[in-house]
Every structure is written in structure tokens, then in C-alpha cells.
Amino acid sequence: MAQQATSRWRYIRAFASGLFVAVPITVTVLDRVAYVARVEGASMQVEFQHHLLTDRQSRDTFRHNVRNYEVQRGDIVSMLSPKNPQQKIIKRVIGLEGDFIRTLHYKNRYVRVPGGHLWVEGDHHGHSLDSNSFGPVSVGLIHGRASHIIWPPNRWQQIKPSLPPNRGPVDCEEEEEDG
């Protein structure tokens, strides 16, 4: 009887120490390296209504790159919603800081993205809560860049940055043509 109790006690202790190792390491990996985000809703293209592997490592490089203009337009990023701090949203970067953007149904027709901000949009215009409703978003809200589609397995692929046709920053020449 006593032997049984000791073995049970040993089992509990092994379990607790394993938990003490596993939980912090898992949390750190999810915070720093990568995590899997599930894409719901109609805001991105149909092809993205799946699980995405979100690369957290790029988060820190991303922040630095934004200042060095190395972030690409067309990258898909995961960020905290400015309207609701508990919600994560996944959007495509349309414009970087300093870009001149032709908006779709924002209060101003043209917007210059201020420093440290990005212009993000969902791929489904009209079904998406994006910069067209809340304006440019601060880079500090971003916490990852989507790097791979991992589910369903037959669509496993790397996501390459791509801008939707006729979206993106307005060039100076185009601007003159419009005017």
C-alpha cells in the first residue's frame, strides 16, 4: 500500500516537473518563433480560409524592416485589431509609411500613410474590416507575418507577397493623370 502511494507520488512529481519544462517552452515558441492561426470569415480570399503558419520570428525583423523600407507591400500580416484588443485580424499590407493610397470607402479619398503606420486591407473588399474603416494602423499592433498555408495539407505552400491588381500606392505620375 505504502509502495503504491510512493509510486503515485513519484508519478505526480515527474508530471509536474515535465509540465514546468514544457509549458514555458511552448509559450515561448508560440510567442517568438511561430504559431498557427486559423483564418475565419470572408475577409481574405477563399484560398486563405485555412490554417496559416504565422511566423513570429519575422515580427521583430519586421518592425525593424518597416523603418528600413524592407517590408514588402503584399505581405499578409496578423495583427491585433485596433477596435477590439482581444481580436486578431489577418490582412494584406497595401501601403507602407509615406505611401499615398487611394482609399475605397474611407472618409478621405486619398490618404498619406503616416510614419510608423501601415495601410492594410482584406482581399474581400466590402466584407472586411480593414484600414478603409479604421484608417492606417500602427506597426506596433503587428505580431506576425503569415508565411505558409499548412492546412489542408494538399494546399501546403509558402505564401509569396502579392498585391491585388490595381491596389497599392498611387505613383506621382498616376496622380497627375487622375488630376
Binding site: 509549458v23 477596435k83 510608423g116 500602427s138 506596433g140
Partner: protein, 168 residues
Amino acid sequence: MFRRAMWKTLGFVGYTVQYGCIAHCAFEYIGEFVVCSGPSMEPTIVNHDIVFSERMSRHLCRIQKGDVVVAKSPFDPNMNICKRVIGLEGDKICTSMTSDLFKTHTYVPKGHIWLEGDNLRNSTDSRNYGPIPYALIRGRVCLKLWPPNNFGSLNESPTGRIIKTEKD
């Protein structure tokens, strides 16, 4: 001999990773030490004070009016700002100077907060760039650690900018 050295190295690396991860979790979810610089929060926090900012109330959405918070600057994500929360979402904020004849007001939109420094004359805050998203908050300053003669909790706002609503 070689194998033993290898095992020792592996064990050392394992412990380093484990304790690094524990430290990361502590800093990310419990709290961190922040060295404040700049004059914007004088006299509550003066230049080069060390404060402890706890992360739990940010994760649980328990930030209240009057709290001093550390937040990411909306214009430079590598920089942190330390300000006092003047208004939460839906609050009415007076944006004009006290000397102005006409008072102008603005409402804080959903999911945003209004931050101001205690040193109103020397502070770049929401009066310049407007309300900032709640998600930019990193933590609530709860303890002043250094210098030791000022150890303890923070003072109330000296500016009287916090408008108490009738619900309180």
C-alpha cells in the same frame, strides 16, 4: 571522455533554454522592469527612475482611468512611452488648453484610450496624435523601485485632467 563532455554541454544548453523560456514567460505575462527617461511624467516619475510594470491587467483588460501605463509609441514601434490614462473608450475629453476661451471636446473611439503625461507643458501625447489603440499598451506601472527614497506606489494625477463620470 568526449561523450561525457558532449552530454554535459547538452545538459547545459537544455537548462539555458528552459530558464530562458521561463524568464520570457515571466517578462511577457507577469511584469518587467522599465527605466523611464524623459520629462513627460514629472513629477510622478522623473528621468532615469526604474519602475515595475505588470502585464496582467493589460491581458485581462483591467486598465482604468488614472493608471500610468507603458505603451508602444504609435509612430515608432521600437520606442515605448509612459503616460497616464486619461480616458477610456467612449469618454469625452477636453482637448483645448485651459486658457482657451472656447472648449473643444472629442470622444475616444472604441478600442482606444487617451494618454497624457503629467507634465502637460512638456509632453507629446494624445493631445498631439489623438487616441491610441488599447492593444499598444504593454503594461501598467504599479511600483517605483528606484531611487529608494521614493519606493512605493505612484501618486495620483497632479493635473486634474481626469474627469470623473457619474457612474463612478
